[in-house]
């Protein structure tokens, strides 16, 4: 089953498995993000930070053995058999509903936070103080304690109850069953993904994906509500955005009119680091000022050489044709082209 999801991340054009793996676990480097964008997989960036590389590799080998994937010197690609299978899977396999939300929240923390919050409220409603709280990080325990003290305890039970009722109206059957049966409380032990998968005759990974999808949706649903008792908790598990803070700082200097050399000196960073920030910004910020870094002359020359397929030349090959070009220019051009056609 996992192999089906892995298969879906490949296409007829070869892709580098290392990069695909880095996207799944969300390894946050400019190069990974660039390729995530090129592969059109950025929505899945960081979808499973705990996913093991060994398991990933084993499945690639398995898919190759089954003649669904093929490997050449550039990377791994779908065979025609693989392509057929991918088309079928699109219909039969659970497809992530909210890929855009995949890297907005720290999902494991959110799941642990919500589960503990509901357990605590459940026991509170039964006025029971002697119970085994689920095992969480100390930070989550601390956050829940603060949340409890920031709210009126007497009201919490009915607030949490009615908000859950409201939210599950938004869900389809499987999502509701999985979301609800994973809750833990006074008379409820909860079910593991494995147990849910057996009961619902789904695979474990599908069960897990539905749960993740639903939890992401819940977090964003909470943020959209005018009032929600969970708002404070969602704030704590929200990612501050995919653009690093350091890159955001660089942008402020750019907007103030400083050159790359000046910013590097002022921030006591290497010029190459500032360039990395710029690439990061270009990928995520649709208003990135390309004209400050790419002359229309260079864009013209590159477009003439490269034509339609912007991935066809390596940097070395381009450098042979335009000796004075540096990697930053070339990569920025590629980003520009993939965004503006």
């Amino acid at each position: 089953m996992i192999e089906d999801y892995i298969l879906q991340m490949f296409q007829e054009d070869p892709r580098r498995p290392n990069v695909v793996y880095s996207i799944i676990i969300g390894r946050n480097t400019v190069s990974n993000i660039y390729w995530g964008m090129r592969y059109n997989l950025l929505d899945y960036f960081g979808m499973d930070p705990q996913f093991s590389n060994m398991l990933f590799r084993e499945n690639i080998v398995k898919l190759q053995k089954n003649k669904l994937l093929d490997e050449n010197e550039v990377g791994v690609k779908l065979t025609s058999l693989g392509l057929e299978r991918k088309k079928k899977l699109k219909k039969s396999l659970y497809q992530v509903k909210y890929p855009k939300l995949m890297n907005q929240y720290r999902l494991n923390e959110w799941s642990e936070t919500l589960t503990l919050a509901i357990q605590v409220i459940s026991e509170l409603s039964f006025t029971n103080r002697h119970y085994y709280p689920i095992m969480t990080s100390e930070l989550t325990k601390f956050n829940i304690k603060r949340w409890l003290s920031n709210n009126v305890k007497e009201k919490l039970v009915s607030q949490v109850h009615s908000e859950l009722e409201l939210f599950i109206k938004e869900l389809d059957t499987n999502a509701e069953l999985i979301f609800m049966n994973k809750l833990i409380g006074h008379q409820l032990n909860g079910l593991t993904n494995k147990q849910l998968a057996i009961e619902l005759t789904l695979s474990e990974i599908e069960t897990d994906l539905i749960y993740r999808d639903t939890m992401n949706y819940f977090a964003s649903w909470i943020e959209q509500q005018e009032q929600s008792v969970f708002k404070e908790l969602v704030q704590l598990i929200r990612n501050k955005g995919i653009i690093s803070e350091s890159a955001q700082d660089t942008m402020k200097f750019i907007n103030a009119g400083l050159s790359v050399n000046n910013i590097a000196r002022k921030r006591q960073l290497k010029k190459s680091t500032i360039n990395e920030h710029l690439l990061e910004l270009a990928m995520f910020d649709d208003k990135f000022p390309y004209q400050l870094f790419l002359t229309s002359e260079l864009v013209g020359i590159l477009t003439k050489i490269i034509g339609g397929n912007i991935d066809q030349y390596s940097f070395q090959e381009i450098q042979e044709k335009i000796p004075e070009i540096d990697f930053f220019d070339y990569r920025l051009y590629q980003i520009y082209r993939s965004k503006n056609g």
Binding site: S125, Y132, P133, T136, M180, L183, I184, N189, L191
Partner: protein
Amino acid sequence: MTTINLKEKLSEYFGFESFMSGQEETIKTVLSGHDTLSVLPTGTGKSLCYQLAGYLMNGTTLIVSPLLSLIQDQVSQFNFRGNGVAIGLTSLLSYSEKKYVLKNINAYKFIYLSPEMLSQVEVTNALKSINVSLFVVDEAHCISTWGPDFRPDYLNLNNVIAELGEPLILALTATATPRIQDDIVAQLIMPNRSFNKIIRSVNRENIFLSTIKVNDEFEKNEQLLGLLNKLDGVGIIYFSSKKKANEISELINQHTKLKSEPYHADLTDTARYIVQQQFMMNQIDVICATSAFGMGINKKDIRYVIHYHMPANFESYVQEFGRAGRDGQQSIAIVFSQVNDLFLQRRLIDLTIPDADFIKLYFKKHAELVGLGEEKGKLLDYYYEKHDTVDQVQALFRQRKIEKEIGLQSMMAFIDSNQCRKQEILRHFGESKVVQHDKSCCSVVFTEKTLEVIGLEKRRNVTDEKRLIQSSETIMTKLFQKS
């Protein structure tokens, strides 16, 4: 402190009416200011000894425990009692959590630590700033190089105790031969002090012991499924690999009416919590566990313990089957024995103990290899950082291998002997007691008639209800009580 007082406190803090054998004596000698070694068999509530003593003493109780899962379980038991005064200081804490805990270290009455934490200067410095009144060494047999579970970082405990101003010491273990008992005391003892020893017999009268010999795995699985269908109550099966535990758990679910779950280090914390709670509430019939993980299971009415793989040594065997029958009711423990057991166990030893060549290479190229050697490497890092020579370390691991082999050989001899099982165990642990063998004591070869004789033949199914709850409304009423 008089007996009556202690019983009152027991009731006040734990809600129990009476002590189990060895608990009261241990607490008394600790409270009278003596360093103590207590060897109390599995199931007699070792942790209650230091918990009650700790409550009754001023200052903080430190507990060194070798297993993360064990620490987590103990801390959540404190949370269960509603006394949020315990913390687990382990590698599971994030950097900022650890910083927070160390800064507020005086807020905790009980601090659980993994031994490697004690080699970190910022940890010992924080501990020096508080009044540590009791230093508990849990699973104290890990300190002995003679023992099968030796942990090199336990050797450092003596220095830490001295650094912390020599607090009172309580060493606890479920199994220790006289030789290991002496070793524990020798390793921990402070100058001009002495140890009181409280030793209880490892004998468990209410657990019937037996063995099933099979030729191959196919036969083993057949026999196992047949056995599970005839046994009453719930139980644990121990495995020496996670993979096998998963596999057999699946097999049980498919071929019997029983509900089974694997239980080992690959489970997430939440899944582990759920499985534990379900097992406590009799929603699972059989847990398929690996040795290290089964230790956290704290259920009193486990009726049977089965060893799918031959235990690696007597100590593990006795600790593991001791999970059965904590309520004092008749229970049974069965070991499967197969011709290739020795081969399998030897391979496990080879996997965990580095050989001479690996040690030499690792020390020579430490900078390149650090972090790559996994379990073996971590073990060697300890000695590398201590600046031991290659020769010293090679000799040490040669010795470890011999000890493991001896453990294995004596386990094999036990399986093959036709003497009373319980008498053999007592002999191994140097006890002179004579067991009154009868037909409800043990048998060398298991026969189905045994279950009738000891009253453990299947009477009813434990679990039947469907697990998934279809109606969200039902879930809501289980979650929230309308006021």
